[in-house]
């Protein structure tokens, strides 16, 4: 149930499918071992994502420079594909690439805040869990990141 979100979270940090698989599997194993310490009644996802993000950061030490995120080629839409959402339709191909490049130039913690919030659609608590910081800190990182993106890729550009 949580496999995709765990894998994608790991992928955003380590940027390699192979490493992300390792990280996510290790994280599930750790979560399984530590399940006894998980407080019942608390949301499970932030707890799991904290473990995933910690594993991912640990595996990054000494690793090579991360790969850039790739855009899907088939965005023009294939027969039978669902119609793109209004959000997807609202952004042209060129602007997409420019935003993605600008995102990649952000400091890692700001970049990850944006990716968690908008690419993985995590809520504030989950984003904070991945970043390993308090909610307030995650929020201010995100807003700094958005300010910078607005500067780098002005909306009328």
């Amino acid at each position: 149930m949580h496999q995709a979100i765990a894998f994608r979270t790991a992928y955003l940090v380590v940027r390699s499918a192979e490493d992300a698989e390792e990280v996510a599997a290790d994280a599930f194993l750790k979560a399984y071992r530590a399940l006894g310490r998980f407080r019942r009644g608390k949301p499970f996802r932030p707890w799991l994502l904290t473990i995933v993000a910690n594993e991912a950061r640990n595996s990054l030490r000494g690793a090579a420079r991360r790969q850039a995120l790739a855009l899907r080629v088939a965005d023009q839409g294939r027969p039978g594909d669902a119609a793109p959402s209004p959000e997807a339709a609202a952004i042209g191909a060129e602007r997409r690439s420019r935003l993605l490049e600008a995102l990649d130039r952000l400091p890692d913690d700001q970049r990850l805040a944006v990716e968690c919030r908008f690419f993985l659609e995590l809520d504030e608590a989950e984003t904070a869990a991945v970043l390993g910081v308090r909610r307030g800190t995650a929020k201010s990182r995100l807003s700094r990141a958005l300010d910078r993106l607005r500067e780098e890729v002005p909306e009328d550009a």
Partner: protein
């Protein structure tokens, strides 16, 4: 939604994430070696080697394990020996009959961190809370009421390759004992001796508490502090 946020969401939909692999399979592949139970294969191997050493030892009575040091903590007696005696490496976990917590012979302390155990077992005044299942144990918490047991009733036998440390736990007035590293032997009444994994022992009120299966001292202490 402000335009930029809307655009970022749209951008998110265009990211080519690699397909999510079958993580369940990767996790399963890791399980046997790393979390099978409190008795991973490595420990069984150690036990087999130890068993052989002791069998050899029995032929020459003088070579049998010598007790180097003994002390008590609560209701437990801890013996340090130069060689661990033989135990059945795969001795089944025998915790006594399952009971409901209300039928325990004394009021059990409960952990706010661990929640309700998956099973409660009693053997005399030794009550064990089990987390996990009997054949895949995650944690065992044993509570022994009173300190006035016969000193040989509950016994830990620790070899020279096991580390023991006295540690302080905030909120508890007495020190606790942390046993870690190579497995040690646990002797409980009415159960075969068995090898035990990392264990923290502490005294709380008139109970001797024993937690087996925490991976690190920090984890064990955190759990110990959650018992009330």
């Amino acid at each position: 939604m402000p335009d930029l946020e809307r655009e970022l969401r749209g951008l998110g939909e265009s990211i080519a994430f690699p397909p999510t692999p079958d993580l369940a399979a990767s996790v399963r592949a890791r399980l046997p070696e790393r979390t099978s139970s409190l008795w991973p294969r490595r420990l069984v191997l150690v036990a087999a080697v130890l068993g052989a050493a002791v069998v050899a030892g029995l032929a020459i009575p003088q070579a049998r394990s010598a007790i180097l040091r003994v002390f008590g903590i609560g209701a437990l007696r801890v013996e340090y020996v130069d060689k661990l005696p033989a135990v059945e490496p795969r001795a089944a976990l025998d915790l006594g009959p399952a009971i409901s917590a209300e039928h325990a012979p004394f009021r059990l302390l409960e952990s706010s961190l661990l929640g309700e155990p998956d099973g409660v077992y009693a053997s005399g005044n030794v009550v064990t809370q089990l987390y996990g299942s009997p054949d895949r144990v995650r944690l065992l918490v044993t509570q022994i009421s009173g300190h006035g047991l016969r000193s040989d009733v509950v016994k830990k036998v620790v070899g020279t390759t096991t580390n023991t440390d006295f540690v302080s736990i905030a909120g508890l007035s007495t020190q606790a004992l942390w046993i870690e590293g190579a497995p040690h032997i646990l002797s409980l009444p009415n159960a075969p001796d068995r090898l035990a994994a990392n264990t923290l022992i502490w005294i709380q009120g008139n109970r001797t508490m024993r937690l087996e299966g925490a991976e690190t001292l920090d984890e064990a202490v955190e759990i110990a502090q959650s018992f009330q």
